[in-house]
C-alpha cells in the first residue's frame, strides 16, 4: 500500500480552535473532512501538511436548516450519502441530490462531505500519480515543477475541476459561507469562489474554512438536472459534466443556466444560453440550438483521461440529455 506521510493530527471540538490552528500554522495545516480526497493526495505527495485538522468533532456542521427567504443552508460536514437522500433536498433541489449521488462509490459518499466536495482539489492525469511516477516524468507546475505537460509551454495549471456538486451549485446560485480567525465570516457567491488556476482553483485562503452552503429558494417551476460522462457506472470522476436549471412557466423556459465542468480548472458557465432560451418552448429544436451554443464554448483539454475530441463532441449530446431529463423529472416541488 502507499504510505501516508507522517503528520500531527488534531481534532478540535470548536470552530475557534480549528481557525486558531489554521492561523497559527500558516500554510502548514490542512483541514480534513471525510478525507477521501485529501488522503489519497497526501499519499501521492501532491498535498503536504504538518498538521491535519479534522472537522469531524465540530457540532452542528452536518445539518440542514431552513433560511428565512425560503432557501436552505447545508452544513459543510453533511455527508454526500445524507445529502443525496435528504427529503428536503430531493424535493426542492433534485439536481443537487442527483449529482452528489453520482459522486464516486457508496463508500466514498458515506465518508465524503459536501464541504470536501466543493473544495475538491483539481485533477490531472499528470498529477494524480505517485511520487515515483511524477519524478520519472519530471514534476509539473502544480507541484514541485515549472512546466505543464498538458499545455506544452503553458504557464498556468489547467488541471480539471472534477467535483460533481460544483456545476449544480452554480446553476442553483449557491452562496458559500467562509470564516477565518483574522477576518471573520464572509459570503462568497459560488461563481466567485472558483478561479482559473489549477494549482489552487478556489479563493479559499489558507486560514479559512467553509462553514456551510446556502441555496436560495427555488424559483417557481424550477427544473434541473445533472449529467455525468464516465466510463463506469460507479466510482469514476466525471470526464465531462453538465448541470442545467431553468424555470418553466406557462410552457416557456426562463432563466436557463448551464454549467459544464471537467474541462479546465473552473466549472464553466455557458454564455448566451439564457438569452437564447428565454421565453421559448422547451422542444428539441431549442435543445439542439443550445447544445450547439455550448459546443462552441467548450474546449476540453487532455488533462484528464478520455479523448478530448470525444469529450467535446459529447457536450451537445449531454446538454440535450440534461435538458430533456430536467423536463421529464427534475422539478422542484
Amino acid at each position: 500500500m502507499l504510505r501516508l506521510p507522517t503528520f500531527t493530527y488534531e481534532s478540535p471540538a470548536t470552530i475557534d480552535e480549528v481557525l486558531a490552528l489554521l492561523a497559527d500554522n500558516p500554510g502548514r495545516a490542512r483541514l480534513v473532512a471525510g478525507g477521501t480526497d485529501l488522503l489519497p493526495n497526501m499519499k501521492h505527495g501532491i498535498e503536504e501538511a504538518d498538521i491535519v485538522v479534522s472537522l469531524s468533532r465540530l457540532p452542528g456542521l452536518s445539518a440542514l436548516a431552513e433560511l428565512p427567504d425560503g432557501g436552505v443552508s447545508i452544513g459543510a460536514m453533511m455527508t454526500l450519502e445524507t445529502l443525496a437522500s435528504h427529503p428536503t433536498v430531493r424535493a426542492r433541489y433534485p439536481s443537487l441530490a442527483q449529482a452528489v449521488g453520482l459522486v464516486a462509490g457508496p463508500h466514498h459518499r458515506r465518508m465524503g462531505t459536501l464541504g470536501g466536495n466543493v473544495c475538491l482539489n483539481t485533477r490531472c492525469v499528470y498529477i494524480n500519480q505517485t511520487h515515483f511516477w511524477r519524478e520519472s516524468l519530471g514534476y509539473c507546475l502544480k507541484k514541485d515543477g515549472s512546466a505543464c505537460h498538458v499545455v506544452k509551454g503553458g504557464k498556468r495549471c489547467v488541471a480539471a475541476a472534477s467535483n460533481d456538486s460544483a456545476p449544480v451549485l452554480m446553476t442553483l446560485g449557491a452562496r458559500l459561507v467562509l470564516t477565518s480567525q483574522a477576518r471573520g465570516e464572509r459570503i462568497v457567491g459560488i461563481d466567485d469562489f472558483f478561479q482559473r488556476d489549477g494549482v489552487q482553483n478556489k479563493v479559499l485562503e489558507a486560514d479559512e474554512m467553509l462553514l456551510r452552503v446556502e441555496l436560495p429558494a427555488p424559483a417557481a417551476g424550477l427544473h434541473g438536472a445533472y449529467m455525468k460522462l464516465r466510463v463506469r457506472d460507479s466510482i469514476d470522476f466525471p470526464r465531462l459534466s453538465v448541470a442545467v436549471a431553468f424555470a418553466l412557466r406557462d410552457g416557456a423556459v426562463h432563466d436557463l443556466a448551464i454549467v459544464v465542468s471537467a474541462l479546465a480548472a473552473v466549472p464553466q458557465r455557458m454564455r448566451n444560453v439564457t438569452e437564447l432560451a428565454e421565453g421559448r418552448a422547451p422542444d428539441e429544436g431549442l435543445f439542439e440550438e443550445i447544445g450547439a451554443a455550448c459546443f462552441g464554448q467548450c474546449h476540453p483539454l487532455s488533462n484528464i483521461d478520455g479523448d478530448a475530441t470525444y469529450r467535446r463532441e459529447m457536450v451537445p449530446v449531454y446538454v440535450k440529455r440534461a435538458l430533456r431529463a430536467a423536463i421529464e423529472g427534475g422539478v422542484s416541488s
Binding site: F132, D236, E289, A292, A293, Y310
Partner: protein
C-alpha cells in the same frame, strides 16, 4: 534427462465412470472448501503473515525506460538508522526466466534497465517508511539509451539492443526480436486465392492487466537450520523453488516454498518475480525475516499481462461456406523481457485450429521487445487475441455466403476424435451442443437480424487446452503428483502441490478423493502448495490442474479404495468388489444394512495393511505434431465454448452496453458444477471488461516526456468493472465426458473467456452494421465507424480548427444524421 532410464507411462486415464454406480460427490452443488474462510476473513494471505523480528522491504525502480547503469551507491541508505540490509543486482547475477530457453531476467538490474519500473535495488528496514526513506538515499547513475515503444520500430531497428546476450551469455543475434514462428500446413495461398469468398482485415488487440485484488507479496525466513522458507503469492511454487535455487545458488533441498491463500492471479503470478529473490537475499543478509508487499502501482510494472497484438488475417471459404484456409501475420509487443513469450508466440497460432476446421493454415507470428512492462500469460494465454480476429472473420464470411453465423460454424466443425490441421488430437468435443444451447437460450432465431437498429446479437466459438502436454522444462517425471494419507480418525488428508488461486483446485482435489473413498467433504482435508509437504505439481497455469492433478488424485484414491475394500470385504466376509464406499460409510452392496463407518473401515484397513497412504501420479499421453514446435499447444483434451451476446449501441454517444451473455461451455464432466459456472461467469466478465473498459497502456509517443510511463497504474484509472458494469451472464454446462480426464473432466478456467470478446464485436455488427476491429471499443471509435458507414467525412477536428464543425448547422446536421441512424 534421467539418462538411460525409460519414461514410465503413468495411468493416463481412469475412465469416465463413478467408482460405485452413481456419483455421490462429483456433480454435486457443493461450496468451495475454503469459501467461508475467505468470506469471513479467516483465510491467511501472504500479507497476513507476521514473524517475530520481521523487517519490511521496498524496491527501488528505474525512472528511465532504457538506460545503462553506470554505478549504484547504497552507502547513504545503509547508514540510515533502522536499515538492516540493502541488496543490488550484482549480488544475484544469475539470470532466470520461467521458460528455461529464455532466461533474460535478473532479480535486480545488473547492467541496464529496460522499462520505467524495472527493479534496481531493495532495502530491508524496521518498517516500510524507513525502507522508503532509504530508497531515496540510493544513488544510481544512468546513461540513457534510445528507447523502443513502437513494436514496428523494434522489428526493424536492432540498435541499441534491449537484450545484448542470449541464454548462453553469447551476443544476442536477433536484434530486438524476441521470437518468430512461421508454420504452414497445406497449400494455404492456393486454397485462399481460388476460394469463392475471402475476407482480409487488420485487427488490433490492446494490452490488458490481470488486476488481481491481492497485490504480489512475499515473506522469507532464513532459519538457523540453514533452511530458507519463502511464503509467496505465487501460482507456481515449483518453478519458484527451482528459480530460487538457481539464482541464490543454493541447493534446492534447503529451500521451502509455501503458497498461502491467494487473492487472485489470472496468470499474473506465474513467473518468478524480483520480490521473491529480494526478500530471500535480504533475509539471508539481515538474519531476520523479511516481507515485501507491492503497491498497486508496482503490480502494473510487474505486469505479465495480455500481449498487445496487431494481426493481419485472411480467411476464405467455398460457395457453401466451408472454410478453405486461414492465413495470419501477427506482431506481438512483448515488453521488456521474455517471460512466457516463446510460448505466447506459438500459442498465437497453434491454439486456433478448432472448433472451426481449417484444411490449410499458416501463421507467422513475431514477438518483439519494447521498453515497457513485460507481457506474459493472462487467462487464455496467447490465443484470446487471434481468436478475436478469427471469430470476426468467420462471421464476415458467413455474412458473405448468406449463412447464419451459427449454421456457418456447424458446417465447419472440427469433429471429436480427429486431428487438427496442425496435428493436435481432439478427443471429446461438445461444441455442437454448445451451439445448440446458446442458440436456444438466447432466443437467437427471433433476434438475429430482427432487433431494432442499435440492438443486436452475435456469437463466437472457441477451444482451449486442458494443460500443456509438456512441462516448461523438459523432463520425464510426472506432471502431477499427489499423496493421500488415511487417518484412524476417519480423515483423508490430501497433499497436493497444486495452487488454489481462487479457481477452486483444492476443492476439486477434495471432491475427487472423497468420491473414490466414499467420504463426505468434511472428511477430507487438503494441504496444498508447500514444497516441503506436498509432492511436485507444476502449478496453476494452462488450465492443467483438474485434468492432470485430478487424474493423480483419482489414482491415489483408487489405490486406497482397493485396500479399504479388501479389508472391509474380509471383515464382512464378502468379495472386495462387493464393498461399496459412500457418504462416510462402507456397505455391503448386496445388503445395505451391513455397514460400518469410514472410520471403522480405515481402522480395519490399517490393521490389515499397516500405515495408510498412497501416492498418485499423472503424466500426459504422447501428443502433438511431428515438427519443430508441434508439441506446443498439444494437450490431452480440449474444452469448447460458445458465446452469444446481446448488445445495445447508443448511436449518439457511441457507448456500447452488453445486455446479456449466454455461454455454453463443454468442460468434459463438471466435477463441481458451481465452480464451473463460476469460471464461466468470471471468464466472461473478464473478457467483457477487455472489450470496453480495461486498457493497460503506456505512453508511446517518443517525442513526449511522458513516453514510457504507464498511463494509469491505479485501480481508479485502470477501470475494472464494478457490479453495475457487469452484464448478466447465463452460464450453461455441456458435458462431453472426455476419455482423458478424471471421470471425463476437462478445463473450465480459461476457455470461456475467448468468445466473449468477438461475440460482442459480432453483435455490434448485427446492431448497427459496423465491424469493429480495434480493441478496446471506445465510444469514439464506435462513432467514427458509424460515420464512416454513413459516408460522413467531417468529424470535428481535435484542435478545433475546423470552425464549420462548431456551427449550429453542422451540429444540427450531425444530430439529425444520428437520429436518422437510430430509427
Amino acid at each position: 534427462m534421467a539418462g538411460g532410464i525409460e519414461r514410465k507411462v503413468i495411468n493416463t486415464t481412469h475412465g469416465p465412470d463413478a467408482p460405485h454406480g452413481d456419483f455421490t460427490r462429483v456433480g454435486q452443488r457443493a461450496r468451495k472448501i475454503d469459501g467461508i474462510g475467505k468470506a469471513t476473513g479467516e483465510a491467511v494471505y501472504t500479507d497476513d503473515i507476521v514473524l517475530p523480528g520481521m523487517l519490511h522491504a521496498k524496491t527501488l525502480r528505474s525512472p528511465h525506460a532504457h538506460a545503462k547503469i553506470l554505478s549504484i551507491d547504497t552507502s547513504r541508505a545503509l547508514a540510515l538508522a533502522g536499515v538492516h540490509a540493502v541488496v543490488v543486482g550484482s549480488e544475484m547475477p544469475v539470470k532466470y526466466g520461467v521458460i528455461p530457453w529464455t532466461p533474460d531476467e535478473n532479480a535486480l538490474a545488473t547492467d541496464k534497465v529496460r522499462f520505467i519500473g524495472d527493479e534496481v535495488a531493495a532495502v530491508a528496514a524496521i518498517d516500510e517508511d524507513t525502507a522508503n526513506a532509504a530508497l531515496a538515499l540510493i544513488d544510481v547513475e544512468y546513461e540513457l539509451l534510445e528507447p523502443f515503444f513502437d513494436p514496428h520500430k523494434s522489428l526493424v531497428q536492432s540498435e541499441p539492443q534491449i537484450h545484448e546476450t542470449d541464454a548462453r551469455g553469447q551476443p544476442y543475434k536477433k536484434g530486438n526480436i524476441s521470437k518468430n514462428v512461421l508454420l504452414e500446413f497445406g497449400e494455404v495461398d492456393a486454397a485462399i486465392d481460388g476460394a469463392a469468398h475471402v475476407v482480409e482485415d487488420d485487427y488490433v488487440f490492446h494490452g490488458t492487466a490481470h488486476a488481481p485484488i491481492e497485490p504480489h507479496c512475499a515473506v522469507a525466513r532464513f532459519g538457523s537450520d540453514g533452511v530458507l522458507t519463502l511464503w509467496s503469492s505465487t501460482q507456481i511454487p515449483h518453478y519458484v523453488h527451482r528459480a530460487l535455487a538457481r539464482v541464490l545458488e543454493m541447493p534446492a533441498h534447503r529451500i521451502r516454498v509455501i503458497q498461502p491463500h491467494l487473492g487472485g492471479a489470472f496468470g499474473g503470478k506465474s513467473d518468478p518475480f524480483s520480490l521473491e529473490f529480494c526478500v530471500c537475499k535480504l533475509a539471508m543478509k539481515s538474519k531476520r525475516p523479511v516481507k515485501m508487499l507491492y503497491t498497486r502501482e508496482e503490480t502494473f510494472y510487474t505486469h505479465r499481462g495480455r500481449h498487445p497484438m496487431e494481426m493481419h488475417f485472411r480467411t476464405a471459404c467455398d460457395a457453401e461456406g466451408r472454410v478453405t484456409g486461414v492465413d495470419s501475420k501477427i506482431l506481438i509487443d512483448g515488453g521488456s523481457y521474455s517471460s512466457f513469450g516463446l510460448v505466447t508466440t506459438y500459442y498465437s497460432g497453434q491454439l486456433l485450429t478448432g472448433p472451426c476446421h481449417f484444411p490449410t493454415y499458416r501463421f507467422d507470428s513475431t514477438r518483439v521487445f519494447t521498453n515497457k512492462p513485460p507481457c506474459g500469460p493472462k487467462r487464455g494465454h496467447g490465443s484470446v487475441q487471434p481468436r478475436f480476429a478469427l471469430e470476426i472473420q468467420l462471421d464476415r464470411l458467413a455474412t458473405k455466403v448468406g449463412l447464419d453465423p451459427i449454421e456457418f460454424r456447424r458446417r465447419n466443425l472440427q469433429a471429436e476424435n480427429s486431428q487438427t490441421v496442425n496435428g493436435q488430437t481432439i478427443t471429446s468435443n461438445g461444441y455442437l451442443e454448445c451451439l445448440d444451447v446458446v442458440e436456444e437460450a438466447s432466443g437467437w432465431k427471433d433476434k438475429r437480424g430482427k432487433l431494432p437498429f442499435g440492438r443486436g446479437v452475435g456469437m463466437a466459438g472457441s477451444m482451449y487446452i486442458s494443460g500443456t502436454n509438456y512441462a516448461v522444462y523438459p523432463n520425464d517425471m510426472p506432471q502431477a503428483g499427489i499423496l493421500v494419507k488415511l487417518d484412524r480418525s476417519g480423515l483423508a488428508q490430501v497433499y497436493t502441490g497444486t495452487s488454489d488461486i481462487g479457481q477452486g483446485s483444492s476443492s476439486v482435489m477434495a471432491t475427487l478423493v472423497a468420491e473414490e473413498l466414499g467420504l463426505r467433504l468434511d472428511q477430507v482435508r487438503v494441504i496444498a502448495a508447500d514444497t516441503d509437504l506436498t509432492p511436485v505439481d507444476l502449478g496453476a497455469y494452462s488450465s492443467r490442474i483438474t485434468l492432470m492433478a485430478g487424474n493423480a488424485s483419482v489414482d491415489a484414491g483408487r489405490k486406497l479404495r482397493k485396500q479399504v475394500q479388501a479389508a472391509v470385504g474380509e471383515h464382512f466376509d464378502i468379495p472386495p468388489q462387493q464393498v461399496m464406499l459412500a457418504e462416510g460409510f462402507a456397505f455391503d452392496r448386496e445388503d445395505g444394512e451391513r455397514r460400518i463407518t469410514s472410520q471403522q473401515a480405515f481402522e480395519l484397513t490399517e490393521t490389515k495393511f499397516e500405515t495408510l497412504a498412497a501416492t498418485g501420479s499423472y503424466n500426459t499421453p504422447d501428443r502433438g505434431g511431428d515438427y519443430r514446435g508441434g508439441t506446443i499447444g498439444a494437450s490431452p483434451a480440449y474444452s469448447f465454448t460458445a458465446h452469444a451476446a446481446e448488445v445495445s449501441v447508443d448511436t449518439e454517444t457511441g457507448e456500447i452496453k452488453i445486455e446479456k451473455f449466454w455461454v455454453a461451455h463443454d468442460c468434459g464432466r463438471a466435477i463441481s458444477p458451481v465452480q464451473v459456472e463460476g469460471q464461466i461467469e468470471g471468464s466472461t466478465y473478464m473478457g467483457a471488461a477487455e472489450v470496453v473498459l480495461e486498457s493497460h497502456d503506456v505512453y508511446s509517443d517518443e517525442s513526449h516526456v511522458e513516453a514510457g510511463l504507464h498511463r494509469r497504474p491505479s485501480l481508479l484509472e485502470y477501470t475494472i468493472p464494478t457490479s453495475l458494469d457487469t452484464p448478466e451472464i447465463d452460464a450453461r454446462i455441456v458435458e462431453s465426458i472426455d476419455p482423458e480426464g478424471p471421470y471425463g473432466a476437462k478445463e473450465a478456467g480459461e476457455g470461456p473467456l475467448h468468445g466473449s470478446i468477438p461475440a460482442v464485436a459480432n453483435a455490434i455488427y448485427d446492431a448497427c452494421g459496423i465491424w469493429l476491429t480495434e480493441l478496446p471499443f471506445s465510444p469514439g471509435k464506435v462513432l467514427a465507424a458509424l460515420r464512416a458507414k454513413q459516408g460522413e467525412t467531417s468529424a470535428p477536428s481535435p484542435n478545433g480548427k475546423a470552425s464549420a464543425d462548431t456551427s449550429v448547422e453542422a451540429i444540427r446536421a450531425r444530430l439529425a444524421a444520428a437520429k436518422k441512424g437510430k430509427s
